[in-house]
Symmetry: D3
């Protein structure tokens, strides 16, 4: 499989990969990402979490719901019955950033990396939306897969 894009056939035509011959196994994927902001925005998020509206709770829910929309968004993703989605957001005051971790699980013939990455993406986009009235210069960064297990290709851990 190395050196080949599986989403194209021999003639270069895009396709949804045929997973019907794969075994149904328990699969997990974990993705991470962050959104960088001004110290003032980070302060407002922290204060809101304790006494006013909680940006991180809204973004967490959006991330969970976003994971379910993955096959609607990513053209060649399989529709899947996710058995678990968890999205964790923490405010890093030192870095003036919100860190997001999403964990998806399924018993299926294909993995859930895209679901975890989509959950992270939608969560940070939601943070942007909630805070853009005070900070348009926020920057989404470092969205990547950090762990993947289950399936033929075995376990992957980001370096």
């Amino acid at each position: 499989m190395s050196g080949e894009f599986t989403h194209f056939d021999a003639e270069g035509k895009a396709r949804m990969v045929d997973v019907s011959a794969k075994a149904e196994t328990e699969r997990t994927a974990v993705a991470k990402g962050r959104i960088l902001m001004s110290p003032e925005t980070a302060r407002l998020i922290r204060e809101g979490a304790v006494k006013k509206g909680d940006v991180l709770s809204v973004a967490r829910l959006a991330g969970i719901m976003g994971a379910k929309r993955t096959p609607d968004l990513i053209p060649l993703c399989h529709p899947l019955q996710l058995s678990s989605v968890a999205v964790d957001l923490t405010l890093d005051d030192a870095e003036s950033a919100v860190e997001v971790t999403a964990t998806c699980k399924i018993a299926a013939r294909t993995g859930v990396e895209m679901e975890a990455l989509t959950a992270v993406s939608v969560a940070v986009l939601t943070v942007y939306d909630m805070c853009k009235a005070v900070d348009k210069g926020m920057r989404i960064s470092d969205i990547r897969l950090v762990h993947k297990s289950g399936g033929k290709s075995g376990t992957y851990e980001a370096a």
Copy 2:
């Protein structure tokens, strides 16, 4: 409006901002982002574009369609009748990266920053999906708003 999150009311409850008193004006938003990859993956994308499957074409289309799903994904975004979406992807061989720019336009009472940012996010997620069989270590980075015009708050250009 400075120092206040508009998506919460005085009691800190999340809401879709009431834009019914705003004027309907022409609005444009431009967002950018990138996905970093191994030189080998960048080489495969470049070769595919000329002789096999074209990763960037698939991602461009996914980005355009993704912009239309923004109100389904971002909890407090208004549903909007976008009048234009363009997504541009270029392969940067020196950086081993795909650069994405999305431009959205509308005549409405609220802006389209989130639509542009969502288009970029879905486009880079699709690049990840298409290439993940050969490179799980890709990293999505630098998604940000670079331009916004129209509406009461005037024109914004990223520093």
Copy 3:
């Protein structure tokens, strides 16, 4: 599990419950509900069913399709492959009401209560929509789970 909301983790963060350790069993849920209206509106529905447009047929179809949208609507619901949805609507002339019963089935690791309740809700909302030009005072009432079987918690029958 008693006395604990399963949709929050130990820190009170919302999550989609991890069902990956649960057994896949046949599960059924039945929900009921009603919409109360003026005798005149009930009469128009009854007449329409035999000679003009049939409100109940439209609402039945909307209820079935609504069951399929449950994971898009209820934030922490799992996406599911429903194996059966039936929605029954009857006009109760004595009460000037439409009674709705929805039955959903699945072979899965989690139940379909929410799918049955959503089917009932969408069906009665559709009755409201179809009849609102003649009766804005209709009232949706008594939506509840009446039966649930399959899964570890066993069979539930409403009192």
Copy 4:
């Protein structure tokens, strides 16, 4: 229009009402509803709101997002560009109930009653989902339109 269902033509065929000749005016709709539960469940919701997961915040967000899905759910509803959605949930300890009020606004050729009613319905369904592990006997009740203004038919206030 009295005594006639507008969603059927002269032959009784369902249709989306043609609003192209209507004036675009500011329209508002307010709907209410409630979900009844055991005192123990109400107590858990109240405690959660202050120290653990907040059921009402999740349901509020689900209601807002649900309003946006109205044209996907209700067969003959027009797709609309909502300009505002607010969903308010309060816990009524005396009644052991959660009360929901949804307010929708738009500048359009048709009203937003269904959007307000759908927001209420999705919010109470979400409360059910979050609490069903401890209380399957909850009952959704009294979903109705309480106010409507704008448009040719004028202002409606529930009795």
Copy 5:
């Protein structure tokens, strides 16, 4: 515009056409299509319409709802606020066929041809689905635009 595909830019990249400089006018589109079947299937549909389940009513509703999903399905279509959708199905016994006509209207900067064609397509697909247990050899045919008015390009009538 003749001899040029408007959905590609000068470099051949797909885009949603920018309609922001177009005038908002009243636009109408009418599309037609048919599904051919065995005489026995046509007979079952006719009988069902009077005494059992009505295939044509279900397909009509599916067509109306399908029109609303057009921007989700057709990659470069603009999201639109349709002001009217009507779908008419008639059984042609002589031809053993169901004939479908869909009419869509809007006040917008772009036309609704795709909405009318999608409504017809979803309606005939639904007839296929309802009847496939008795007739797998049905054939969908002659889906085409028959009328278009409004907008800069003027009125189109099929030959």
Copy 6:
């Protein structure tokens, strides 16, 4: 099952067929269809494929994504976890037509004929959308099931 529509119960009420007693088997469906156009339009598509925008690539992707939306479009279709979707489009110069073939696979209790037919329909609708600026007279034709295997009713091959 012959001579009976399975999507209605004994009283003629529409329902999603209960497949919970069916065996989960590997199932495949292949559908075909075409869109007829002027020779000039066919020539533009062919030229675009080699030097400008590629209509067929966009339509292929739309067809694949359309297959995933089948349960949202066809009222009584079951939601399914497709394991493979492939859509093939070829330009037939002699006929001035684009021919489409869609192949869907699944391991499930119900077949994927509707998914294959929907993929074909969305692909040809997308060809229409991409080419309509130069040719409004295009005609969609001959959408039909050509092969079905798996499940109790055995293999079907179109005559």
